[in-house]
């Protein structure tokens, strides 16, 4: 019978939410709750955290027996897109706008199961150039084209 299966992903998220709530409540306690008349910086976090914790537990109870989402986790897209974004953030200042943008688009194109190299490189090159004209030349974003 399927009924006895625990929906681990749902339970995991609900648990994270409940723990987040507890952590927020604890922070509120540390920040100082104060009184209703003179609310401390921890007043709202304290009560909000409690609410989140209760909601997290309620969601866990409600979803624990629900059917799992069949969709597999998109590991490849997540890695490729993350790597691309991190690369842009890391390279934009040091290498310059053009190389960083080119790297961003080529890396994130790897998210597709079968990337087409020529198409990827051409798109990335053209868009980097167009982006440079738009953002740096027209809109004046303070980044060098290529850092030597």
């Amino acid at each position: 019978m399927q009924v006895s299966r625990v929906n681990w992903p749902e339970l995991g998220i609900a648990t994270v939410i409940a723990c987040l709530g507890i952590a927020v409540t604890y922070s509120g306690w540390i920040y100082g709750i104060g009184t209703a008349r003179h609310m401390g910086p921890g007043f709202v976090p304290f009560w909000l955290g409690l609410a989140i914790a209760v909601l997290g537990i309620a969601i866990a109870i409600k979803t624990i027996r629900q059917a799992c989402a069949e969709e597999p986790f998109p590991i490849r897209p997540t890695i490729a897109v993350s790597a691309g974004i991190v690369a842009w953030a890391a390279l934009a200042r040091s290498l310059g706008f053009l190389p960083a943008s080119f790297v961003l688009m080529t890396i994130s194109s790897m998210a597709e199961a079968r990337p087409r190299p020529l198409e990827v490189v051409l798109t990335a090159a053209i868009l980097s150039g167009a982006g440079y004209l738009l953002f740096v030349k027209v809109l004046g974003i303070n980044l060098p084209a290529i850092n030597r």
Partner: protein, 507 residues
């Protein structure tokens, strides 16, 4: 000033060259991002926001608003041609729009959609022009107690009325509120939830959060999925677009009712265009004399939701502009954009800056008029855009997102934030958590805390201030009712489950 001179003032602002350029650019960008599946008004406005930093505030707002309502038009194109809603507010349009396209009446479907959209918007704009100033003058008497209660109402409404589990909605709103509190506490200067990162002192960047939740998360979910092929429409000629007299007659009242429903739902705090379309479609099917025909491609099924979503997107400006309390996530982004441009929406805004307010309202109508005329000739362009494969599109979207987020503060921390929220957003969406509620909570977090604090200072810590003021009491009663409704639903379901056991055995 009376209504006519206000309108004249508005027209003089909205017909200046800058405003006209802004409105055309806005609706074009809006229709483009609306047409592209997976990129909605939220992402469009967030992406364009950095570009508007170099404009006058009025021009900037006119353009951003143009993106918002342009999106609602554009979204129906993808719904009709590909059976993929361009934005979630156009999902219902697929039900009858796509079958109609398959029947070879693509032109009529698009035309009916455009006409009802224009009809809905125009009527809604007239209503908001009359309604917002009245509401704003009423709101001048609001104290912090009322503001707190209406924000609470908006947050609860956003999480319980939206699709999906109300529990998940409420958890998203609450977590959003906490995210909103990140940074320096305005009263004590204490740094909250910054974990020692100095960059978080000013709080989380709204655009990075929004683009993460709605841009990056959406891309992660869409990569590698084969999108449905474009329906082969053949050349679309103007002759084939003109609806017959019967079709116009059939669409007339659904469009009118859709406008009414859309306007009301949009003006409520917490409910946006998407819900309005579902409701409008359901109502039409309920009152129709031939409900079985819905879903087979009839004009009623296009006219009602399209009128509703455009009316709703206009009227969602009501709570934002009159109270300074955004009703849904897109309005929250619009309000964030206004604040960045140094405009604080609210009752004082209309009195103090009538030229911006009336200019904006008039530009809505001019924008819709422009859309009416350009949308039909541009359909060929959108069809071509839709035929660009997604594998070429998504790296470009990520690129523009990164540069856009970077350009707001010239700072790379925001890009890491974008990525973190993108991954969080993907997980939440995958499991049916409404991230739009999170964003609304995020924007309202600091506001609601401040009004709670002020109200309690005035009442010397007495919570009865929220119940003793009549308007505030009404808001709170509605809030409680909204909270009870899903609870009753749960009870009802439990009762049902326990009673006829043999009927549930089959699944």
């Amino acid at each position: 000033m009376d209504f006519l001179s206000n309108l004249a003032l508005g027209f003089s602002v909205a017909t200046s060259l800058n405003s006209l350029i802004a409105v055309v650019m806005g609706v074009l960008v809006g229709m483009l991002v609306g047409t592209l599946p997976g990129v909605g008004a939220l992402a469009g406005i967030s992406l364009a926001l950095p570009i508007t930093f170099y404009m006058e505030p009025t021009t900037a707002l006119i353009m951003l608003a143009g993106i918002f309502y342009g999106c609602q038009y554009g979204g129906s194109t993808a719904s009709i041609l590909m059976n993929i809603p361009g934005t979630s507010a156009n999902a219902v349009t697929c039900l009858d729009g796509h079958p109609m396209a398959k029947k070879g009446k693509v032109g009529v479907a698009l035309m009916v959609s455009v006409m009802s959209s224009f009809f809905g918007s125009t009527l809604a704009i007239c209503l908001i022009a009359a309604f917002i100033p009245a509401l704003a003058s009423l709101a001048l008497n609001f104290s912090s107690a009322e503001y707190f209660s209406i924000m609470l109402l908006g947050l609860v409404a956003a999480s319980t009325i939206s699709e999906g589990s109300p529990l998940k909605g409420l958890s998203m709103v609450s977590i959003g509120l906490v995210f909103g509190l990140v940074g320096m506490d305005v009263n004590t200067g204490l740094l909250r939830f910054t974990f020692g990162f100095l960059a978080l002192g000013d709080g989380l960047n709204l655009i990075a959060v929004a683009m993460g939740l709605f841009g990056v998360a959406e891309i992660l979910a869409s990569i590698g999925k084969d999108h449905e092929r474009l329906t082969n429409t053949g050349p679309i000629r103007f002759r084939s677009m003109v609806p017959s007299r019967e079709e116009i007659k059939a669409a007339r009242f659904p469009a009118l009712r859709g406008t009414g429903i859309g306007w009301l739902i949009g003006a409520l705090p917490g409910a946006g265009p998407t819900i309005a379309t579902f409701l409008a479609y359901a109502v039409e099917r309920r009152i129709s004399r031939h409900p079985h025909k819905f879903g087979t491609g009839i004009v009623e099924g296009i006219a009602a939701p399209e009128a509703a979503n455009n009316a709703a997107s206009q009227s969602s400006f009501v709570p934002t502009l009159s109270l300074g309390v955004p009703g849904d996530a897109v309005a929250a982004i619009m309000m964030g954009a206004m604040l960045i441009h140094g405009i604080v929406p609210g009752p004082d805004f209309i009195a103090n800056q009538p030229e911006i307010f009336w200019g904006l309202i008039t530009s809505f109508w001019i924008g819709n008029l422009i859309i009416l005329f350009i949308s039909i000739p541009l359909i060929g362009v959108w069809v071509r855009v839709l035929s660009i494969p997604y594998r070429m599109m998504f790296p470009a979207i990520i690129f523009f997102t990164c540069v856009g987020v970077f350009s707001i503060n010239n700072n790379v921390h925001d890009i890491y934030l974008l990525l973190v929220f993108g991954i969080i957003g993907y997980f939440l969406k995958r499991h049916g958590y409404p991230v739009a509620s999170l964003l609304l909570g995020f924007v309202l977090g600091p506001l609601i805390e401040e009004h709670l604090r002020r109200a309690l200072v005035i009442s010397r810590g007495d919570f009865s201030i929220f119940f003793s003021r009549p308007i505030s009491l009404v808001f709170l009663i509605v809030t409680v009712v909204l909270l009870m409704l899903p609870l009753m639903g749960v009870i009802g379901r439990v009762v049902k489950k326990n009673r006829p056991k043999e009927m549930n055995g089959g699944d």
